[in-house]
């Protein structure tokens, strides 16, 4: 038995920190107690216990200098950006601004970003929930990441080779793009997304009633980012997912009642999952069986009531998430206000569309899991993991067993329930949107952290917890505080992403700068010149650390000045910046990139500019002056 003087030695050893609770309670204390009680032989020995603890630690621990196994792309929620994390370390590697304004990179300030956001865009905010990576044959191809904007009804695309947003599309005649998924097979031709709220048509203030209101399911062409078609539906729309044939997509609905009050949206015992027959929708569009709304040219087809294009499968009760299993067999909808998940067999959908079977006949299981099921994800071994909001747990269950149970066999389908902290929304397992679901890691994104972290005032972080699902039992290994509300994430193996180290000079990202330079007879890679075009002045300069190509230029007060900086460095990670003091101008220029920004030179006199991204020992000296002549 450890004597009191040995405890005192512990205190002395810990020195400044004194007796730390963690040490006292930790594995060492227990291992010590076990050893001391002389039961080493019967139960785990101190060594084997410590080894087991260390082994569990190893899997999550990515040491200094080591690389993570997976990329994790997180939505920033209403913060408007996409974040890149390494999994399993959960270290944040990069932020990709999308709907927000970013001072560091100049997103929302530069002309190139305005080419994407729209030069007349007034929105400084966005609310992005669901990040998804493009696929070929149901496997991540690392080309694009797509994400929704619920606040301002948009969809954005990020090029994963440079990890920058290159297209944003506003979806017409709907409000609040929420659920979003990609076509998986044969490849991501379409981005499918739901508009959540029903609005009148036309929505011009002449009629506010629900009778003339509806919402639509939308498909964008992934390459052009134009809206390909829209489908009018009954009720509203929540989340969505696509199958592994390219024929079907399915969305949940929680307001089949078309109610405008809270109580009303809960009245029906079953809302539904609306299944879309993509083949028939494409056919209808091709045959001209569509209308257009307002000034939009997008084909709109009607999927309401008894339509050839849709089927409304009754699902209890205000269902929320819908997720396709990686074997392509099932759409699984989570019941939210019903403690169940509903398993819909995709191979029965052909028959229900041909009216050979009834709507509920496609339901092959409806396991009772716990209170508040929201989202389901998969480990590729036949198990599903569903978050339970009210129970504040994740339930692991077996799909095949749930089907047997539904058919009357006395089979237990639940495997384990794990507490999470607290109240989870989405969860996401590694590679789960694709055929390659590998069942290694599970992230559970909880809405409330309460007291899990040091208190930081009234606004709390959320908690994205990492769980090891590689074994039979789920093991919580990490609490990850997150700002704003990430909603969802997606994990991709590191070999599935191929990035550029530096830009290539023909990158479409700065195509408009190149086009303007050509018109002005400028070679971006070498010229340092000022072009005067009436009261528009275009300043072209190169930058090679630690110098700007022009350290001085002159304009007249009131001129509209556009500065083009071309970074001629070829070394990885030598990003320059450009910031004009007192003008709200800031931008990033990475190696071999051209960036441009426009502002009015309204302050006469000397105005300094400087490189604001650290690039060189003489970075401080990388400056210049704009000389503005008084008007």
């Amino acid at each position: 038995m450890k004597k009191t003087d040995e405890f005192k030695k512990d205190v002395a050893e810990n020195g400044e920190s004194g007796l730390s609770r963690r040490r006292f309670l930790g594995a060492t204390a227990l291992a010590g107690a076990v050893g001391a009680a002389g039961l080493g032989g019967a139960v785990m020995t101190r060594e084997s216990f410590a080894a087991a603890a260390k082994e569990a630690q190893n899997k999550i621990h990515v040491g200094p200098g080591e690389l993570d196994e997976y990329y994790g792309f997180w939505s920033g929620g209403h913060q408007g950006e996409v974040r890149v994390l390494g999994i399993p370390s959960m270290r944040e590697l990069m932020r990709i601004p999308v709907f927000n304004v970013d001072s560091a990179t100049g997103w929302g300030i530069t002309n190139e970003s305005k080419d994407v956001l729209g030069h007349d865009n007034k929105f400084l905010n966005g609310d992005c929930h669901h990040p998804h990576v493009s696929m070929t044959d149901g496997r991540y191809d690392g080309k694009y990441l797509f994400i929704n904007d619920k606040a301002n009804t948009r969809v954005a695309r990020i090029r994963l080779d440079i990890m920058k947003c290159d297209k944003i599309t506003h979806i017409p005649n709907v409000q609040a793009i929420h659920g979003l998924r990609l076509q998986k097979v044969p490849h991501t031709k379409y981005v499918f997304c739901n508009a959540e709220y029903m609005i009148p048509h036309p929505n011009d203030g002449s009629d506010f009633s629900m009778e003339n209101s509806y919402t639509m399911f939308n498909a964008l062409d992934a390459e052009t980012m134009e809206v390909a078609w829209q489908v009018i539906v009954d009720g509203n729309l929540d989340n969505t997912d696509a199958d592994y044939t390219g024929k079907y997509a399915a969305s949940t609905c929680y307001n089949s009642e078309k109610a405008t009050d809270l109580a009303g949206t809960m009245r029906n015992d079953r809302d539904w999952v609306v299944v879309f027959n993509i083949e028939r929708i494409e056919e209808a569009v091709k045959n001209g069986d569509f209308k257009t709304l307002g000034d939009s040219k997008v084909p709109v087809v009607d999927g309401r009531g008894k339509s050839r294009l849709t089927r409304y499968i009754p699902v209890p009760k205000n269902p929320h998430g819908v997720n396709t299993s990686p074997d392509g067999k099932y759409f699984i909808a989570a019941g939210k206000l019903s403690p169940t998940c509903t398993v819909i067999a995709i191979d029965k959908l052909d028959d229900v569309f041909d009216d050979k079977i009834g709507l509920r006949d496609v339901v092959v299981a409806e396991p009772e899991l716990g209170l508040g099921p929201l989202h389901t994800t998969y480990d590729g071994r036949g198990n599903a993991y569903t978050t339970l909001f009210i129970d504040s747990q994740v339930a692991k269950w077996n799909i095949a067993d749930a089907i047997k149970h539904y058919n009357g066999e006395k089979v237990n389908y639940l495997r384990q329930k794990l507490d999470v902290h607290y109240q989870p929304g989405h969860n996401h397992a590694s590679l789960t949107e694709s055929r390659d679901a590998d069942g290694k890691w599970l992230v559970v994104l909880s809405k409330f952290s309460k007291d899990r972290f040091l208190p930081v005032g009234p606004l709390h972080a959320e908690n994205d917890q990492l769980i090891d699902i590689s074994g039979e039992e789920m093991k919580l290994v990490h609490d990850g505080p997150a700002f704003a509300e990430p909603h969802d994430c997606i994990m991709v193996r590191r070999d599935q992403i191929k990035t550029k180290k530096v830009y290539t000079r023909d990158d479409p990202y700065f195509a408009s700068a190149r086009a303007q330079a050509e018109k002005d007879g400028i070679t971006l890679e070498s010229d340092n010149k000022v072009i005067r075009d009436g009261n528009k002045v275009r300043v072209y300069m190169t930058s090679v650390a630690p110098m700007f190509g022009l350290t001085e230029f002159k304009v007249k007060q009131g001129d509209e000045v556009t500065v083009y900086v071309t970074n001629q460095d070829t070394i990885e990670d030598v990003t320059h910046g450009f910031s004009m003091v007192n003008h709200g101008v800031s931008m990033e220029i990475s190696p071999q990139q051209t960036s441009s920004v426009t502002f009015i030179a309204d302050k006469p006199g000397v105005n300094w500019y400087y490189c604001n991204w650290f690039c060189h020992a003489l970075h401080m000296e990388m400056t210049g002056r704009m000389l503005v002549e008084k008007a």
């Binding site: 309670l25 107690a33 039961l39 403690p339 009772e368 006395k410 507490d419 039992e473």
Partner: protein, 422 residues
């Protein structure tokens, strides 16, 4: 010829009963407001009551048979009473809210009492009608249908001032379901062999009193509500949760007895992480828990996620595998005005015989923490090493984990609970 005669006979009978049935409905429609009517002692098909203030009773041989579709009885006028009827075989369509008795929005002041209902979809559906009384009914679900395909026994949708009392409900999906319904009284109902006894969401200022649940998969699931009064209810041998409270504030729970909550099971197999919790308190504040008894369950009380500022005193925690599971980082004192709770595993003493222990009870000392994290350590429960840890904790209070402290633990269960505490 014979054949034709039989067909004619059958048709005639059918026609007669049809006319008899149409007759009954006509008679009901022709009633003067406020009149009384007794339904004849025979099998009737579905009925609607459209005249206000009438009392419709049944003779013992009356049977209202819904014919397998739609509602059996639909009440569409105010002030109606339906009493003493046997009602069977209404529709199975949950989407259409098929019910044994469907009480429409305009049917305020309805009374449905002493009826005997058996069917698949909803037993009695209250569709936002105010001031409805549902009393003394026997409601049975259809045990041959999957639990989630059955309806709820009594469903309160958006009602106010309802009185649901003395009903006996079995084998439905949930016994009593209440959502967005304020100011109702639910008392003295008996519920067993079903999913949730009282499935309760987003409803304020309600009274739950004297109800009994047995053999359900959660006795009382109370969610997102304020100012509930939960008195003298019993949960006996339910699974998963006796009383679950999620985001409940400013409520009073007094005199409830929760016993024998067992681990959740599917097909007889228990699942890890689903231990039976007598009471589960999540994100719930400013409540008073007083004079309750929590016994013989997997966990006596599971308190988590910022559930603070609750008054917990004069309760008895008896013989739970784990008395308190407290998952938070701040210390809480569970006593009021010098009176704490009774803990069956309290090892302290009472030298001055004032009925209050001299040493605080801490269900969450560091040893408990160790046990949660490393359950293998259970084997050491009574070892000298663990005793030492406990002693060290006493001597060096700096190492105490945050947890629940009861500074005035009672030496015996409060008088009110003593009969139950043996």
């Amino acid at each position: 010829m014979h054949h034709i005669l039989r067909v004619v006979a059958a048709l005639t009978v059918a026609l007669l009963s049809l006319t008899a049935q149409a007759d009954i409905q006509q008679k009901l429609d022709d009633l003067e407001p406020g009149a009384s009517f007794e339904l004849p002692p025979e099998n009737l098909s579905s009925l609607a009551i459209r005249v206000s203030g009438v009392t419709v009773a049944c003779s013992p041989e009356t049977l209202i048979d819904g014919g397998g579709t739609g509602n059996a009885v639909k009440i569409e006028a105010e002030g109606v009473t339906l009493a003493g009827c046997r009602i069977r075989n209404w529709g199975t369509d949950l989407n259409e809210l098929n019910a044994g008795v469907f009480i429409s929005r305009e049917a305020s002041n309805t009374t449905v009492e002493n009826n005997d209902l058996q069917g698949t979809a909803f037993g009695i559906w209250l569709d936002a009608a105010p001031d409805v009384t549902v009393r003394g009914n026997i409601i049975r679900g259809d045990a041959t249908v999957r639990p989630n395909d059955r309806g709820n026994g009594i469903h309160l949708f958006n009602t106010t001032e309802a009185l649901i009392e003395g009903n006996d409900i079995r084998q439905t999906r949930d016994a009593i379901y209440i959502e967005t319904a304020n100011g109702n009284k639910i008392r003295n109902n008996t519920m067993s062999d079903l999913r949730y006894g009282i499935h309760y969401m987003y409803s304020m200022d309600n009274l739950l009193e004297g109800n009994v649940t047995r053999g359900t998969r959660t006795g009382y699931a109370l969610m997102q509500s304020k100012r509930l009064t939960v008195l003298n209810n019993r949960s006996e041998n339910d699974e998963n949760y006796g009383i679950l409270m999620n985001f409940i504030t400013q409520s009073v729970l007094r005199g409830n007895v929760v016993s024998g909550v067992s681990q959740g099971q599917t097909a007889g197999v228990s699942v890890s992480g689903a231990e039976g919790k007598a009471v589960f308190i999540y994100n719930s504040l400013y409540n008073t828990f007083e004079n309750n008894l929590f016994r013989d369950s997997g966990v006596g009380i599971h308190l988590t996620a910022g559930s603070e500022d609750n008054e917990v005193f004069r309760n008895a925690f008896i013989n739970n595998q784990r008395q308190v599971k407290y998952v938070a980082l701040r210390t809480q004192e569970w006593s009021k005005d010098g009176e704490g709770n009774f803990w069956s595993d309290y090892l302290g003493w009472d030298r001055n015989q004032d009925g209050v222990g001299d040493v605080p009870y801490e269900p969450n000392d560091n040893v408990d923490r160790l046990l949660w994290t490393y359950p293998e350590a259970k084997i050491l429960m009574f070892s000298p090493a663990v005793d030492t840890l406990r002693w060290v904790q006493e001597a060096f209070p700096v190492v105490k984990a945050a947890g629940v402290t009861d500074s005035h633990p009672l030496m015996s269960p409060p008088k009110m609970l003593q009969p139950e505490s043996r």
